[in-house]
């Protein structure tokens, strides 16, 4: 199996959620609540921050919350908008992080080449 870069996030599918930062999506929780809003941040444990959130329960009751922190272990599903090219977003994010890392090193080195498309996991 191919090794996906140096970052822990790139060895799991969390990098996909991280690539969706800035997009509006729907997160379903294990307690049957669903949170729709703009994804502000996602860490390696898939803890997320959602802005301008609408929280809906099974009965359909909605609440507006400007800022929500959601522990990743409570997530059941993340509905990904189907009008985006997820692969491209993941690659864009990888390039951005690599460029930021090399800039930190005074510009030496270059972004790592795009990993050979392979199956599944590291």
């Amino acid at each position: 199996m191919g090794k996906r870069g140096q970052r822990a996030s790139e060895r799991t599918l969390v990098c996909v959620i991280q690539a969706l930062v800035g997009l509006e999506l729907l997160v379903e929780l294990r307690n049957d609540l669903s949170v729709r809003g703009v994804l502000d941040d996602c860490d390696n444990a898939s803890n997320v921050i959602i802005k301008d959130a609408t929280v809906e329960d099974v009965e359909g009751v909605q609440r507006q919350l400007p800022l929500v922190f959601l522990r990743g272990s409570n997530i059941r599903f993340v509905h990904i908008p189907d009008n985006v090219d997820v692969m491209q977003l993941v690659e864009d994010r990888r390039l951005m992080l690599d460029k930021a890392a090399t800039a930190y090193m005074g510009g030496k080195g270059a972004p790592a080449p795009k990993p050979v498309p392979g199956a599944g996991t590291a």
Partner: protein
């Protein structure tokens, strides 16, 4: 072309790799089942599924007759990230007779 990809089946996760881009059946906790096309997975069994049908099964007991009423509700989602800690099993779609 696929120099990094080892097509030998060595561990259970490799069996899932054989189902990439195929339709699969996933049994989840909380009496849920998914059928969809497997786009990606990882070692935690986080998955990305496309064109998913989710079936939620609930059993109610009638107050008077005490019989079990099994209800299922279905919905479709075009593109779904499934967190791996909810996954029980993964399989090629079951053939319903």
């Amino acid at each position: 072309m696929a120099t990094e990809e080892d097509s030998a089946v060595k561990e259970p996760l490799d069996l899932i790799r054989l189902s990439l881009d195929e339709r699969i059946y996933v049994k989840l906790r909380s009496d849920r089942e998914l059928r969809g096309k497997l786009h990606a997975y990882d070692q935690h069994l986080n998955m990305i599924l496309g064109e998913v049908e989710e079936v939620v099964t609930s059993v109610e007991i009638d107050d008077e007759t005490y019989e079990e009423i099994v209800r299922t509700s279905k919905r479709n989602v075009p593109y779904l990230f499934v967190r791996g800690d909810g996954v029980i099993l993964v399989s090629p779609p079951l053939r319903t007779s």
